[in-house]
Symmetry: C2
């Protein structure tokens, strides 16, 4: 069934968020964005595990998997291809930062249409803007996809040029971390490196899947600090997320790379795995 | 008039926040908390100016002062003493961090009752917890009271002891910045010092007012970096915000100070100014 609405809050249509919800007041919550194919969430086990883990990092007990699956069945038609965004907040609270002794997490499911990507992204790769905005280091929140995303908003506001696909984010030490909506990989020979995200950044599911499947392409992998100067010397650069899977980066500022087949190989693996 | 409700959204009762509001999705907005006396916002000119400036820092055009004043008149009775929280967000948007070409800011006004403070806070001062959570440096957002407040939530979750009034927050270099809901001052002789907030922290109105009125108490002032070791050697430590005005800090971990009259002097000035 298809409903004439695009979101559910705690399983109900036509609801709004309470202004007392701590997700709104403080960004006290986490979220995930994932692809729906034939009405079903793709790589759901990993996404749900990540949601539970991200919630746990800030002390929220994630709603049960059945509740979220029921929401998805209610909002998406059986044959639908779309994007789902799941938000879990700590729930409502009184004024003040103290976590309420008793609170019921709020769950929000939002449906969006699948973005239509330029065909050139698949054949020629994509261009990144090098962001002036730097990510701040906060090890207590690093890796999780929480609702405090003003840095991403500021970084994304640095360009209007539609030829730019995403923005490359560094920390204050000129270390590469991620892009505003993507994780990043650099290939050197048969070695694939992705930045360490223990101080900042979001550790996405697709990054995790690429680390797992690299061996099948005869690539060794490493999670390590990655200075910008080192990234620009890579043989090949890839970015990834759960919606587009993987694209090759063929330009960052003045540095260009020729199109190569690795992103397409990973897209195949990521799509059919 | 008193309504049986505690908030207005864009001037309307009984509304909820859209889950597409960027204030909810990303914490893309700012807020202020202020005291209402006899139904009127106290130090309104400074609060509104700060709201406009904080909005401008992240590229939001703050709604006009008349709209906000009308909201306050609608929500608070003529003789009411209460706390007002004003939230301004960038408004609704599609999925993605890019700021919409056209967006209408959302304004939220929330009424809460005035906290009842222990009488000992006025006579004997208050105790601070030294937070393990450190504030991260983000000069592009430092000083403004934005909706990305997970660090405050984590810091406030470090203690349950009701004898602790607030938590002292340092940056990663052991520099004192602020408390979870307060700014901080250290007095050395007739010199009053408050931390520089150009890298992190929220520059509150009451901090600004204390800096302005210190001269009338024959104190010189300085905004400067303040290492924790230096704070603990102060002759006197004060904290402040727009609700309680000022309290003396008489304990931080093992360090204690005898009660002194400065916080009370500032409370008098802050109340009657």
């Amino acid at each position: 069934m298809t409903h004439n609405t695009t979101h559910l809050i705690n399983g109900s249509f036509n609801e709004g968020i309470s202004p007392f919800d701590r997700g709104f007041a403080y960004g006290d919550g986490v979220f995930r964005t994932l692809k729906i194919e034939a009405g079903k969430p793709t790589h759901w086990t990993m996404h749900y595990q990540k949601l539970v883990a991200d919630c746990a990092t800030i002390g929220i007990v994630c709603p049960g998997v059945d509740l979220l699956q029921n929401d998805i069945e209610l909002l998406f038609a059986n044959d639908e291809i779309a994007v789902a965004k799941i938000i879990i907040t700590r729930g409502e609270g009184e004024r003040g930062y103290a976590i309420p002794a008793v609170s019921t997490p709020t769950r929000i499911l939002i449906k969006s249409s699948m973005p239509q990507y330029e065909s050139s992204y698949y054949t020629d790769g994509v261009t990144l803007h090098l962001c002036e905005t730097r990510l701040s280091n906060q090890p207590k929140l690093a890796g999780i996809k929480h609702l405090n995303r003003l840095e991403n908003v500021l970084a994304r506001s640095e360009w209007q040029d539609e030829a730019i696909f995403d923005g490359l984010l560094l920390d204050t030490q000129d270390q590469v971390i991620e892009c505003t909506m993507s994780n990043i990989f650099a290939r050197y020979g048969d070695h694939l490196l992705t930045p360490d995200l223990s101080q900042c950044g979001v550790a996405g599911i697709t990054r995790q899947r690429i680390l797992q499947m690299a061996k099948s392409l005869n690539l060794t992998t490493q999670v390590h600090t990655l200075p910008l100067t080192h990234l620009l010397k890579a043989d090949e650069v890839l970015i990834c997320n759960s919606i587009y899977n993987a694209f090759q980066v063929t330009r960052i500022s003045n540095k260009a790379w020729a199109p190569q087949p690795l992103a397409s190989q990973f897209r195949n693996l990521l799509t059919h795995d």
